[in-house]
C-alpha cells in the first residue's frame, strides 16, 4: 500500500527542484561478491592480525597478585635449591663422585665470600619465612575462612609482618 520513496524520488519534488536535487550517490568503498569459503578465509586472516588487549601490563599493583607472584617465585627458587642439592648428592652417590656434607660445608665456608654468604642466607631466610606464612594463608582459604577482600588483605599484612620477624630471626641464626 505504501511505497517507500527515497531522496532522489521525483514523486516528492516540484518540477523546479527535480534537476537540482538529483545527485548521484558515490560510495567511498567498493564491494565485491565473495564465496563463503573466501569470506571465511578473510575472517580468519583478520582474526590473526587483531591485537590483544593489554592485561598484565596494565593491572593495578595490588597486594593480592604481588604476594601470589612472590609466593610462586620463592617456591621455585627454594625448589631449585632443594633439587640442586639432593640431585647433586644423588648423582655423586650413583656415580661415585665422592661428594659429602663435609666437603660441601668446607667449600662453602672457605670459598664463598662473606657478602655472598650473607646475601644468600638473608634472602633464603626471608623467602622461606614468607613462603611458609603464605602457605598457611592459602590453607586457611582452603578451609573457607577469610576469603573476602578484608580477610585477604588482613591475612596478607599479617604474613608480611610474620615474614619480617621470623625472617630476621632465622637470618640472625646464621650471622
Amino acid at each position: 500500500m505504501f511505497k517507500f520513496v527515497g531522496l532522489n524520488s521525483t514523486a516528492t519534488k516540484s518540477v523546479a527542484m527535480k534537476r537540482l536535487t538529483t545527485v548521484s550517490t558515490r560510495r567511498l568503498f567498493n564491494t565485491e561478491s565473495t564465496s563463503t569459503v573466501q569470506a571465511q578465509k578473510l575472517l580468519e586472516a583478520q582474526r590473526g592480525a587483531r591485537p590483544i588487549s593489554p592485561h598484565l601490563t596494565i593491572y593495578q599493583p595490588q597486594l593480592t597478585w604481588y604476594l601470589s607472584s612472590v609466593h610462586r617465585v620463592s617456591g621455585v627458587f627454594m625448589g631449585f635449591v632443594f633439587f640442586g642439592t639432593t640431585i647433586a648428592f644423588g648423582v655423586s652417590s650413583l656415580f661415585n663422585l665422592g661428594l659429602n656434607t663435609e666437603k660441601l660445608v668446607k667449600y662453602y665456608h672457605e670459598k664463598i665470600p662473606a657478602w655472598f654468604d650473607y646475601t644468600v642466607k638473608g634472602g633464603f631466610a626471608y623467602i622461606f619465612a614468607f613462603h611458609f606464612g603464605n602457605g598457611i594463608r592459602h590453607l586457611i582459604w582452603d578451609t573457607g575462612k577469610a576469603f573476602t577482600i578484608p580477610g585477604i588483605y588482613k591475612t596478607g599484612y599479617a604474613v608480611l609482618a610474620l615474614t619480617a620477624v621470623a625472617g630476621s630471626y632465622l637470618f640472625s641464626l646464621g650471622v
Binding site: L7, L20, T21, V23, T25, L28, E44, A45, R47, G48, A49, R50, P51, I52, S53, P54, T57, I58, R72, G75, V76, M78, G79, F82, F83, T85, T86, I87, A88, F89, G90, V91, S92, S93, L94, N100, T101, L104, V105, Y108, H109, K121, F132, G135, I136, H138, L139, D142, L173, G174, V175
Partner: protein, 173 residues
C-alpha cells in the same frame, strides 16, 4: 546556495591512531629456543556455531590431585616446625619424612609451573619433555635423599652445617 543533504556529504574517515589506545601485538611471549605449535587465529577453533565441548571429567588430575597437594602442605607444617624448634639434629626418621614430603611438594609445585608456563596447547611435545625432566630429576633426588639419610646427617644436617658459622657449630641452640 543549496547545501547538499547531510546524508550525501562526503565522509572522511581518519585512520585510527593506535597510539591513543594502549594495545599490544598478538601475544608472542614464548620461551626462547622452545618450538611452539601453530595456534588458531584469534584463538577461535572451528565455527562460532559449534557447541563448546568441555574436557572429560578426570578426578585423578582434578579433585584427587588437589587433595593430594593439600595433604602434602598440611603435613609439611609440623615436619618443618620440628627442626626449626629443636635447632639441633633431628631423628633420622623425621628427616626422611621431611625430605620425602618436601620432594613431593616441590614436584607438585614445579608441575603446576610447567602446566602454567609450558602449556600443552602451545608447546605440544615440549610440555611432555619438561615433565619427563622433572620426573628424572626427582628420581636422582630420591637417590640423593637416600644417601644423605644413610651416610650423612640428612638434609637438615647439610642445612645447619652450612647455615651456622664455623665457630657456632659446637654450640647447641
Amino acid at each position: 546556495m543549496f547545501t547538499r543533504p547531510a546524508l550525501l556529504r562526503p565522509v572522511f574517515r581518519s585512520t585510527t591512531n593506535r597510539a591513543l589506545f594502549h594495545t599490544t601485538k598478538s601475544n608472542n611471549l614464548t620461551i626462547p629456543f622452545l618450538s611452539t605449535l601453530p595456534q588458531a587465529p584469534g584463538g577461535v577453533k572451528g565455527d562460532v556455531n559449534e557447541a563448546f565441548v568441555p574436557p572429560p571429567v578426570d578426578k585423578v588430575h582434578g579433585s584427587y590431585h588437589w587433595d593430594f597437594e593439600r595433604v602434602l602442605a598440611v603435613s609439611l607444617i609440623p615436619l618443618v616446625s620440628l627442626p626449626l624448634a629443636s635447632g639441633a639434629g633431628i631423628p633420622v626418621i623425621a628427616d626422611t619424612l621431611l625430605s620425602s614430603v618436601l620432594l613431593a611438594h616441590c614436584y607438585v609445585g614445579f608441575q603446576s609451573c610447567i602446566i602454567d608456563y609450558i602449556p600443552k596447547r602451545v608447546y605440544g611435545k615440549n610440555h611432555n619433555y619438561a615433565m619427563y625432566l622433572l620426573t628424572l630429576g626427582s628420581l636422582f633426588s630420591i637417590a640423593g635423599i637416600y644417601h644423605l639419610e644413610t651416610k650423612e646427617n640428612g638434609l637438615i644436617g647439610v642445612l645447619t652445617s652450612c647455615w651456622k658459622e664455623e665457630s657456632k657449630t659446637e654450640e647447641k641452640k
